[in-house]
């Protein structure tokens, strides 16, 4: 195995390939409380994110649809899995952590308070840090989430 093989294998590890081939939560939600569209201008990929909000203002269901590369689809699949039961604040904190992971910068304060299982699963995408051109693919779903969590959305995901 050459260095390239190892690097590429780290990027396209089995968990990522599994999620990209059989993405979880890959469907529209007709009665979504929040909906946002994300574009990756580099390749023209498009992602639509759907959220429903429970009575306790946490995310009840998250799903997505669209075209995308393995990295962006796997990232959206992982993200929608881990959003269930989270408040907007918790979701944004995970996004801040993931951003630092992909950019290779110091993690934000409060990592210890994050859902450890989610943090653990996000490590599968850490390899994208070695491919700066692909960070946008990995973060497309999360940037779309940020738009969906916009306070102007019809039904807000609670922040507490």
């Amino acid at each position: 195995m050459s260095e390239s093989d190892d690097d590429l294998r780290a990027l396209y590890q089995d968990l990522i390939l599994d999620h990209s081939k059989k993405p979880h939560n890959f469907h529209a939600i007709a009665q979504a409380d929040c909906e946002a569209v994300g574009h990756n201008p580099l390749c023209g990929d498009k992602l639509v994110l759907y959220l429903t909000v429970s009575d306790d203002s946490t995310i009840a269901e998250a799903s997505f649809q669209g075209d995308g590369c393995a990295i962006s689809v796997a990232s959206a699949s992982l993200m929608t899995d881990m959003l269930r039961g989270k408040t907007a604040t918790q979701a944004r904190a995970l996004w801040a952590y993931f951003q630092s992971l992909t950019m290779g910068t110091a993690p934000p304060d409060g990592v210890a308070d994050l859902d450890p299982d989610a943090v653990d699963r996000l490590q599968a995408l850490a390899g994208v840090g070695r491919y700066p051109m692909r960070v946008k693919c990995a973060t497309l779903a999360w940037r779309t989430l940020e738009a969906a969590l916009d306070p102007a959305s019809a039904k807000k995901v609670g922040t507490e």
């Binding site: 590429l8 390939l17 393995a70």
Partner: protein, 406 residues
């Protein structure tokens, strides 16, 4: 090595490197071409010995710089076989040339309801400036459809013309699909109705000899950086009478005959369209690139690239799961393709891991992608320095990608 094969990679310093531990196979010349040593040297030498601002000083260096800039214009004139050097306007690139025509000629001569004809395979640079004009003036954009193989049919162009058509602005060669448009027939058909034609030659001039007088084309645009020249310089060719009829594009120094606060008199073309200090060293570099390409000759270049295209087409088509996109009968050295189960973006990353540089995406031609029911493709585009060894590397890396993404 095939008889037609050129062997010029050693002229290009950037190609001598390894990328991720592998020999670099640069197959992205359609996005931008690498630069030969002679272009890099010509620009360095100019900065080291002859650099000053042009058209201003009476001193020695300003005179030398002005002469070098004028020589570059003459070189482009000869390259396109334009009748006069004043028909050559230097711009920042093909994109600015198109914007210049839309803003200056379009704003002056087009009114609400007038029609500009484009094709479905245009680069965004030949779409967006016209949309901006549509927003401002209420012109109508009429789009000639493409065939499933990426071809543009002359009868479809004819069908798009009517009494309101004021310009036909189309690519000479498609950047996304490699289609060579039937420009001779097209110009004849459009001129028969008294309508001018603009050709976007960004993907053409590095691959084939272009003779604007033989074509009788009204406007022709291209970029220096795709012709093995520097970035930041491009060309607008316009027939003399057309350019003379057009108002300035930008205001500033070098484009005026005299200025008072009451009135400013503009220079004649091309200076009228070159406000401010231009890209002088880049013009020198462009001349060096033209000299280099002409030194090899388009006969050899075309034969070499046709051989690469034929070999690349056959070898990609032979790989299970690969589908070629854009198979028009007349094509330039561009191979767009998709691979079953592998998104072009992932393919681009994996190929890069093996030193193979390709483009992945919509190629700034989203309407063309949409017409073919695609979001993105992988694209290989050949330059004069590519050889069969690059195709070997491409095929080997593609097989690796299929294995990895299995």
């Amino acid at each position: 090595m095939a008889e037609t094969e050129l062997n010029v990679a050693h002229d290009f310093p950037a190609l001598a490197q390894k990328v991720h531990g592998h020999r670099l196979a640069y197959l992205d010349s359609g996005a931008s071409a690498q630069k030969p040593r002679c272009v890099i040297d010509a620009m360095s030498r100019f900065y080291e010995t002859d650099y000053a601002n042009i058209h201003r000083g009476v001193h020695e260096l300003s005179m030398r710089a002005t002469q070098a800039y004028d020589a570059a214009r003459e070189s482009v004139r000869s390259f396109l076989n334009a009748a006069y050097a004043d028909e050559i306007v230097f711009t920042r690139g093909a994109t600015e040339s198109l914007n210049l025509v839309a803003a200056s000629w379009g704003r002056t001569f087009l009114k609400a309801g007038d029609e500009v004809v484009l094709t479905q395979l245009e680069h965004h640079a030949n779409i967006v400036p016209w949309q901006m004009l549509r927003q401002e003036k209420g012109i109508v954009l009429r789009v000639v459809p493409i065939q499933a193989n990426g071809d543009v049919l002359i009868e479809d162009v004819r069908a798009a013309l009517n009494d309101k058509t004021k310009l036909v602005s189309v690519a000479h060669v498609s950047n996304a699909l490699g289609t060579v448009l039937p420009v001779e027939e097209l110009i004849a058909a459009v001129h028969a109705r008294g309508i001018p034609v603009l050709l976007d030659g960004a993907q053409a001039v590095s691959h084939r000899a272009v003779d604007v007088q033989a074509l009788d084309v009204d406007f022709y645009v291209f970029s220096g950086h795709k012709l093995y020249g520097p970035t930041g310089i491009g060309v607008l060719y316009g027939k003399r009478a057309l350019l003379k009829s057009m108002p300035p594009y930008q205001g500033g120094g070098d484009m005026i005959a005299s200025v008072t606060f009451e009135e400013t008199l503009y220079q004649e073309p091309p200076s009228r369209f070159e406000a401010g200090t231009p890209a002088i060293a880049e013009a020198v570099g462009l001349k060096a690139a033209i000299d280099y390409v002409q030194g090899i000759g388009f006969k050899k270049i075309a034969a070499h690239e046709a051989a690469l295209l034929a070999e690349g087409t056959a070898r990609l088509a032979a790989i299970d799961g690969v589908r070629l996109i854009g198979t028009a009968p007349k094509k330039s050295g561009i191979l767009s393709f998709v691979v079953n189960g592998i998104h072009p973006h992932d393919l681009g990353t994996i190929l890069d891991g093996y030193g193979v540089a390709i483009r992945a995406g919509h190629h700034c031609a989203q309407p063309a992608m949409e017409a073919l029911g695609l979001v993105a493709t992988a694209r290989v585009s050949f330059g004069i320095y590519n050889t069969s060894a690059d195709i070997d590397a491409l095929v080997a890396a593609l097989l690796k990608a299929k294995e990895l993404m299995g």
